[in-house]
Amino acid sequence: MRVSGLRSFVARRLLLGVAQTVAVVLLVFALTEALPGDAAVALAGDQPDPARIAAIREAMHLDRPAYERLADWAAGLARGDFGTSLASGRPVTQYIADGFGPTLLLAALTLALLIPAGFGLGVLAARHEGRLVDRLVSSATLAVYAVPEFALGVLLVTVFALKLAWLPPTAVGYGTDLLGHPAALVLPVLVLLSRPVCSLSRLVRAGMVDALASPYAAHTRRYGVPGARIRYAHALPNALAPAAQQLARTVDWLLCGVIVVEALFVIPGLGTVLLNAVAERDVPVVQGLAVVFGVLTVVLNLGADLVAHRLTPRAGVAA
């Protein structure tokens, strides 16, 4: 593909991404509207006095029609203003900034372990295809993949935190300063790693098995290229394209708030922020998060497509 073709592909994809993000925001807005109750009811708390609720509603401009509120918010967004929280009055950007730290830290740590582990296991299994090592790796990854995150999390907490007391069970009390307490990160990262490692290594294994059996791999062997170099420099690039797409989905999943893990280990990340905002019907926060998640998803998938294009130059771009 020529450079101009690539550029127009990126432009088209970004445009499409903007449209998708707008659609996500509209959908989220419509769904939060459809939920019973609103921020006023949530704020009124244990004494749901109708007069009080109406007063709060008026003070927060919740009595205005939905489309006006949406238009106001969208106009603010165009100026880079995400609005303020209904529940606390703090700016939404601050919520996002606070929650992003722990989420980013978890995602980065998980990714740093996921890439070598996933690719390493996949290549290892493919190298010993059909033999003992392959069968061990394949059955172990399948078994781990079958366990849901919350079940594995509860199991790990029970064994390593409660029974053996090697690690703290949750991150309660550490606030957003998780780096200062690395021990609290071990279990969450393990749980986050568990399933992505399995799906990634299985994809890499499948691609590598094909690539190693190909005539071009046989040709490199014929001409005396060392085995490790054949595996990593010649065969692996052909197995990478599907893995890159899978990796993008994983990163997306990690960054968009891993609600189950954050809730289980009480980590104040984006997932926790989202959960609280929904409980409080804090629409501006929910919408702000929807925008952030939408943009992240679009950008990550575009990146993965570009990597896949580089790795399968023959296929061109499937837009």
């Binding site: 040709h219 490199t220 001409y223 290229v225 010649h234 690039p237 052909n238 130059p313």
Partner: protein, 492 residues
């Protein structure tokens, strides 16, 4: 002359057996530096197995006896039939070349290694007659032409320092000019003192290149000797047949049709994107006629065929079948129209579903396009296959278990089951050895004789194949350059 007597590789009494069946049996072969040793024979005769034995490679599960000996430091290079298959699609051309060069510069200080390796790579590419090597190294294999891919693979062998190069069917499916180039190139390789083992059923190339010829049949060498002697005085019956099979009989001239054409092309201009790839102002095909469309690869002859079949719809011409307009795209053609124009592809393996028996796939045409019921379709499929020389037993097998020639017969049967008016054959003989090719051509001539309403369009670059046609249309650089009676066009 003394070095001509030394041997760089030798095979003694090689026997390769799979499941108790010998695919190579008692083969002796001596390879001398700077000489071309050709193995000729039909496909399945054991040529490739013998050639790969020099590389120390055998089919999976094979039992091997005998001896393969290489001279001291005797590295062997390999140029396969489809060079694209051994080039890594995800890596640039330079990737493997650099890896081959790297161990050769290990003695140098680290700072100089990279430059020295690049120097070796560039020299190998220029030895393989690839100009502009620097730019070429940065390309991906799919960005090279077929000829360039072949030369890159040859450059890998030269860079390795191979003393023997095994070339497997290097000219199969190439047009005459490209063939000449390949012959020159292999001749240049031997001039450097490298031995070439040529596996080919292209007898013209063997005659032009080989010093010594081994004729193989069913895994055995039936005759061997210097090329000139073998051509003039073939001793074995099979050698004689192989040499005879090159010439095909001209068609029966009395039956060229007149009256209304079955297919007519008017003002056809086909485009790929914005590039015009073919202009054909007027072309007709009469009932019972065979029209050969000749031209070099890339001339646009396949595009013409694809336009007729509705596979290429980016054109603004008019196609008439029996005087009525034929929609441009396959999707807008009725079943009867689909059945009327059938297409047989060059790559038969790709045209069959590898997971279903051949018979099912052949019979399916009659069910889909003519509404025949399953049983009748299967019976007709079996009769048609039988008349095309494919027995019932192989018809029940999967496509992967049939030879190229057998599969081509099945592909013809599949098209015939639609009861077509026009049968388009796109280079259907180009991957076949001479004996098989002759069989298929006889078959096509027989079809023309026996089926009054069938017309053939033969897309080919091969003059011998075009000989069975009544008329020949020549396509050159996207233009219909001329047409005439086969006798006049083909007489040199």
């Amino acid at each position: 002359m003394s070095d001509r007597t030394e041997t760089v590789a030798e095979i003694r009494d090689l026997r390769v057996e799979i499941d108790g069946r010998a695919i190579v049996d008692g083969v002796h072969l001596r390879v001398r530096p700077g000489m071309v040793t050709a193995l000729v024979g039909a496909s399945g005769s054991g040529k490739t197995t013998t050639g790969l034995a020099l590389l120390g490679e055998y089919p999976a599960g094979a039992r091997v006896t005998g001896e393969v000996r290489l001279a001291e430091g005797g590295l062997v290079g390999y140029v396969p039939q489809h060079p694209a298959a051994v080039l890594n699609p995800a890596r640039r051309v330079s990737a493997l070349l650099d890896d081959i060069a790297r161990p050769q510069v290990r003695a140098l200080p680290p700072a100089e290694r990279r430059a020295a390796a690049r120097e070796l790579v560039l020299r190998a590419l220029s030895d393989a007659q690839l100009p502009d090597a620097k730019a070429l190294l940065r390309r991906y294999p799919h960005q090279l032409s077929g000829g360039q891919q072949q030369r890159v693979v040859l450059a890998q062998a030269l860079l390795l320092g191979a003393r023997v190069v095994v070339a497997d069917e290097p000219t199969t499916g190439q047009d005459a000019l490209t063939k000449d180039r390949i012959v020159d190139q292999l001749a240049a390789v031997t001039a450097r003192g490298i031995a070439v083992v040529l596996l080919s059923h292209d007898l013209d190339v063997v005659r032009a290149l080989a010093d010594e010829v081994l004729v193989m049949r069913a895994g055995r060498v039936v005759e061997s000797g210097p090329v000139a002697r073998l051509w003039r005085y073939p001793r074995h019956e099979w050698t004689r047949r192989l040499l005879d099979a090159q010439r095909a009989a001209p068609p029966d001239e009395t039956r060229t049709g007149a009256g209304q054409p079955v297919l007519e092309v008017r003002h056809l201009t086909a485009v790929h994107g914005r590039t015009t790839v073919l202009r054909a102002p007027h072309l007709t095909l009469h009932p019972g006629e065979c029209l050969a469309v000749m031209g070099r690869s890339g001339s646009g002859k396949t595009t013409l065929a694809r336009c007729l079949a509705g596979l290429h719809r980016d054109h603004d011409g008019e196609l008439l079948l029996d005087g009525t307009t034929l929609p441009r795209s396959l999707r807008h053609r009725s079943r009867a129209q689909l059945a009327a124009v059938q297409y047989v592809f060059q790559d038969t393996r790709a045209a069959f579903d590898e997971h279903r028996p051949v018979l099912d796939q052949v019979a399916r045409t009659a069910v889909r396009l003519r509404g025949a019921d399953e049983r009748a379709a299967r019976e007709e499929a079996l009769t048609t296959l039988d008349s095309l020389g494919l027995a019932e037993e192989p018809a029940h097998r999967l496509p992967g278990e049939l030879s190229g020639g057998e599969l081509q017969r099945a592909a013809l049967a599949r098209a015939l089951l639609a009861h077509p008016r026009v049968l388009i054959c796109d280079e259907i003989t180009s991957g076949l050895d001479t004996v098989t090719r002759r069989g298929i051509l006889d078959l096509l001539a027989g079809l023309l004789r026996d089926r009054d309403d069938l017309s053939l369009v033969l897309i080919t670059h091969d003059r011998e194949t075009a000989r069975i046609a009544h008329r020949v249309a020549v396509v050159d650089v996207g233009e219909l350059a001329g047409e005439g009676r086969a006798r006049q066009v083909l007489t040199p």
